[in-house]
Subunit: 140 residues, 2 copies
Amino acid sequence: MSDELLRSLDQAGVRLTGPRREIAALIAKRNGHFTAADLIADASKRRLGVGRATIFRLLDLLAEQGLVERVDLPDGRHAYVPCEPSHHHHLVCVACGAIAEVEDCGIDAVTAEASRRSGFTIESHRLELFGRCPNCRSAN
Amino acid sequence: MSDELLRSLDQAGVRLTGPRREIAALIAKRNGHFTAADLIADASKRRLGVGRATIFRLLDLLAEQGLVERVDLPDGRHAYVPCEPSHHHHLVCVACGAIAEVEDCGIDAVTAEASRRSGFTIESHRLELFGRCPNCRSAN
DNA sequence: CACACAATGAGACCAAGTATCAATACCCCG
DNA sequence: CGGGGTATTGATACTTGGTCTCATTGTGTG
């Protein structure tokens, strides 16, 4: 569950405090994406005494470790997705919020082509795919 | 200059008001990306009496027409880019903010592959490329 | 097991954007 | 060309997502 998050944090040299364990558990319990507001609501619902700031701070830490990533939904909202630290992209189900990760599959060719045409040196990119997961597709 | 923006708005059936003309001129005068705050600052610097809300409203309208697009910079900030209404992606220079547009160049293969692997139906995607434009690359 | 220092929570603050509403200004129609 | 319905406007309050500060607390190292 949340063990993996905690283990990675530990390895990164950050302290494993009570609030962090609790927030990690909340994240692990969710599936698919969530917003910071979701976590804040979860935390206050359970009367964990963790502050807003602590939640944002942990999200930053997790993002630095690549254990969580920020995605910008098509409607402009921000969400976070728990994920593997390796480079990859996300497929987001617009109906239920489920997430799939896809390894790099041909994007390099695209960036190389764009670089050739424009003369830019490309340093990084962001690719997000939005659609419907198998469940939501058949359910509708 | 700003004529093209105004013409497109006219065709979309929106009224061509004074404030809209002024904001369109401000947008046309910038090159590369800009934030809403930039426009608001421009407007107040010149003592045009246009309100914050009007600027956001015009940006929304322009975005609907595809004349402007919102990009999320790697540092998390939001910017707007003036652009062609056809489907395309942006290359953003992280040094000077210059923008290049690239037509679809192989992305479809990537989305098809991702779809095949994940079982998702892909409805839309967002691709942003960050790097250095030819000027900034040589200047450094 | 003490102590330095990282981490916390509370709350003020900030930036970006939205909602409300009375006043204004387009522009269509005659 | 002038009137008037209606889209648009500016001011301002509000919301949401996130950061800063700072006095207090908790961790884990030595």
